[in-house]
Amino acid sequence: MRGVRLGLPIFLGYVPVGAAFGVIATAIGFSALQAVVCSATALAGAGQFIALNLMKEGASVLAVVAATTVVNLRYMLFGATLSPHLKDMPLGNQALLAFMLTDETFAVNVSDRRTGASSGASMAGVGAIAWAGWVAGTAAGALAASLIGDPSRWGVDFAMPAMFTALLIALAEDRRQMAVAAFAAMLAIGLPALSALGIIIPSSWLIVIASIGAATVGAVAFR
């Protein structure tokens, strides 16, 4: 139950963004059932929106799946980061937590872990309530698209950035962490500008490259 309480803000943030996914998915040809199943099984936030964009342009199945996979490669970093805390957990429970791993559940669990109160049960609670928000939002968006209209009217465009901003402040707790976060931000903004020099970094790789680069500099610089 502690986990559900911790995850409640994620639930409330996911409902509007999930609704936006439901609206857009049904607009490009998904049935409501397909939109809901997609959210319930992928739980992939940005990855799902990228998929819709590519599908609208008629991309092949493999191209769509590859793009969402690359965008979500950061989940590998999350899994590795959490794994030392999940040592004694049975494989089935690890699989469940892995399935519910998102940017927000990861950040909330890591910051809760630092207070020393986090447990397998609380992490499962955070994941379950986040999943419920994403799926419920998608269902609402897919079934009530005409009532909702243009989702951006409701400030949905800023739901994810707002959550990320709060989580960044929560996680960048000391000067070293702040420096690493600032360097990652500079990489994420600077790397796309390299296209002026003919060096094109696909946008789906940006977060992974910037994160690995900044964490590496942090690990080397701060011993």
Binding site: P9, V61, V110, A166, L167
Partner: protein, 108 residues
């Protein structure tokens, strides 16, 4: 857009997303990690959030928007401050969305 095409994407996307999430947990949790790698991992959360925020706020939709009329930037600063003061993730998220809607309306 055919139904088969949509279902194929849904099924493969579900498999692919689980495939990037599960193996690192299953494998790495069973290894004894060297200290430098553990230290590296400790910087991953802040690095990911830093790059996500920067991308969402300064390049919304993948286009540079580095101006003072950027509603994402103008809303992110008070959102950060509210979280810093209140430590309420929910309060900061909702306040941030309201501020964003307000700023966007003001900017026209």
């Amino acid at each position: 857009m055919s139904t088969t095409y949509i279902w194929a994407v849904i099924v493969l996307m579900a498999i692919a997303n689980f495939a990037v999430r599960f193996p690192p947990i299953a494998v790495v949790s069973r290894l004894r990690l060297p200290e430098p790698f553990v230290r590296w991992l400790s910087y991953v959360p802040a690095a990911v959030m830093g790059s996500l925020v920067a991308g969402e706020v300064l390049r919304p939709g993948g286009e540079y928007l580095i101006t003072l009329r950027n509603p994402y930037l103008l809303a992110a600063l008070p959102t950060a401050l509210i979280y810093q003061r209140t430590r309420s993730f929910l309060g900061a998220t909702i306040a941030g969305m309201l501020i964003f809607v307000g700023i966007r309306a003001l900017l026209g």
